[in-house]
Amino acid sequence: MYRALADAIRDAEARAVTLSRVALDAEAKDQGRPVSEIRDALARALAVMRGATGRGLEGDLRSASGLVGGDAAKLRAGPPGPLAGTIFRDVLARALAVQEVNAAMGVIVAAPTAGGAGVLPAVLTALADARSLPDERLIDALAAAGLIGAVIAERASLSGAEGGCQAETGAGAAMAAGAAVEMLGGTPSQSGHAIALTMQGMLGLICDPLGGLVELPCVYRNATGAAIALAGIEMAMAGVTFAIPVDEVIDVMGEVGRTMDVRYRETAGGGLAATPTGRRLARERLVQIRRSEG
């Protein structure tokens, strides 16, 4: 697999193909498997993603602690805001939906991780459905997202314990942005700018879940991460470019993660988890989980 997005973008543009094409070719070569088999695996992932967005929007799920659940359905059927009826609101609903399913021990695709699993399916399926794109295009987009995530894993990190939330929802947003630009007909280089524009907006984001549980703020971080991905997509497709090359932006994410205080790396020792209310809720909810499990 590629270690630099610049190399993948250069190869794709030299061959006049998409990023997903060079990603699938590289994967087939690395793993010694035919492209068709890789696409089949991505098709199964897509089916699970669609299952999770659908399940979460039904609105009847609660997490183990009871801290999260039911908010996706509010975006679907609740009172309108200024963005009612737009793709933006649909994306927020789907991102919350997947994370609510995750928090309730439902089945999701950890892409890139379980805690950041909402952004990619929300952005890709909402944009594809709005234009009635065939699943083939979504499967290709997932291949492009996999390439972007693989480069982030190689150069920075995909773990909240190592790099904070920027490494989980930040990576998910970057993957979604680059993949969506390709799916909507943008060039490989536009995908690169979309990734950079998205990641620059996620830099420094801490991982501070209440009680160490993948619930709060994780569920909402996926929705706001998806919103930043939409901003990156919209700017890149309008022709906006980002002056710092995409691989260098990813390197910054890695550097920020490595120097981030341990309190902000999934330990519940800082941030929202360490607020008076955060500590109280975590304490109360853990007691509740223990009681419900007898």
Partner: protein, 222 residues
């Protein structure tokens, strides 16, 4: 090397790849040591598994793994109820194994059909796991391939003999590691194979009079 399918996956029951999917895989891999669902089990949770395990369903995930469920099986949610319904005597405790242990570690003492085995496993992140101790032997078993574990007397030609049995089965060996406590004492062997060895092959290995016991641990990676 990072694979694209590692990034777009695994498909799993939430909420945490380390505390849920990885925990399930440890149970799933460990049950092979007693050849199936244990009748009794002591599950000792250490570190972050003990502190945040309940909220992540770590106990349910380990129980589900011990029942033979995979990380994407929705029955994980109900694993503790299933355990109770089947009358299995499994106890969950919090402990400190030792200060150097990985934060996501569990020690399992499993019994089935008169055999009891103790195993320690850690969840390393993103669903990857490692069994780090089986009985008193330090080991490293990832479950990424089909694995045979066995304890045998330390004697000349033992490796060749076992390799021969597997070759007859057309099982290709990927890695083989030998740990022994003293020269001439017992040795612990971990053999990773590309194909799943048959029960007959494991039985043939166990029939060698210098082999104390042998088990097949089925691959648990996606």
């Amino acid at each position: 090397m990072v694979s694209l399918l590692d990034i777009i996956g695994p498909v799993m029951v939430g909420p945490s790849s380390s505390h849920t999917a990885g925990a399930c895989r440890i149970g799933l891999l460990a049950r092979g040591l007693v050849g199936g669902t244990p009748e009794s089990a002591r599950v000792e949770l250490h570190g972050s598994f003990a502190r945040t395990g309940e909220g992540h369903g770590t106990d349910k995930a380990i129980a589900g793994g011990l029942l033979g469920f995979r990380p994407d099986d929705e029955r994980l949610r109900d694993a503790l109820d299933i355990m109770a319904r089947e009358g299995l005597d499994w106890r969950f405790e919090k402990t400190t194994i030792d200060d150097d242990a990985h934060p996501n570690t569990v020690r399992l003492t499993l019994s089935r059909g008169g055999v009891t085995r103790t195993v320690t496993g850690s969840s390393l992140g993103a669903g990857r796991i490692s069994l780090t101790r089986i009985e008193d032997y330090p080991v490293e078993v990832s479950g990424n391939l089909h694995t045979i574990v066995l304890v045998a007397e330390d004697r000349t030609g033992s490796v060749a003999r076992i390799a021969g049995i597997l070759a007859e089965e057309k099982v290709n060996l990927a890695t083989m590691r030998l740990t022994r406590r003293a020269r001439g004492g017992d040795a612990f062997m971990v053999i990773e194979c590309d194909e799943a060895p048959s029960e007959a092959a494991i039985a043939a290995i166990e029939r060698l009079d210098w082999v104390r016991w042998a088990r097949r641990l089925d691959k648990v990676s996606a």
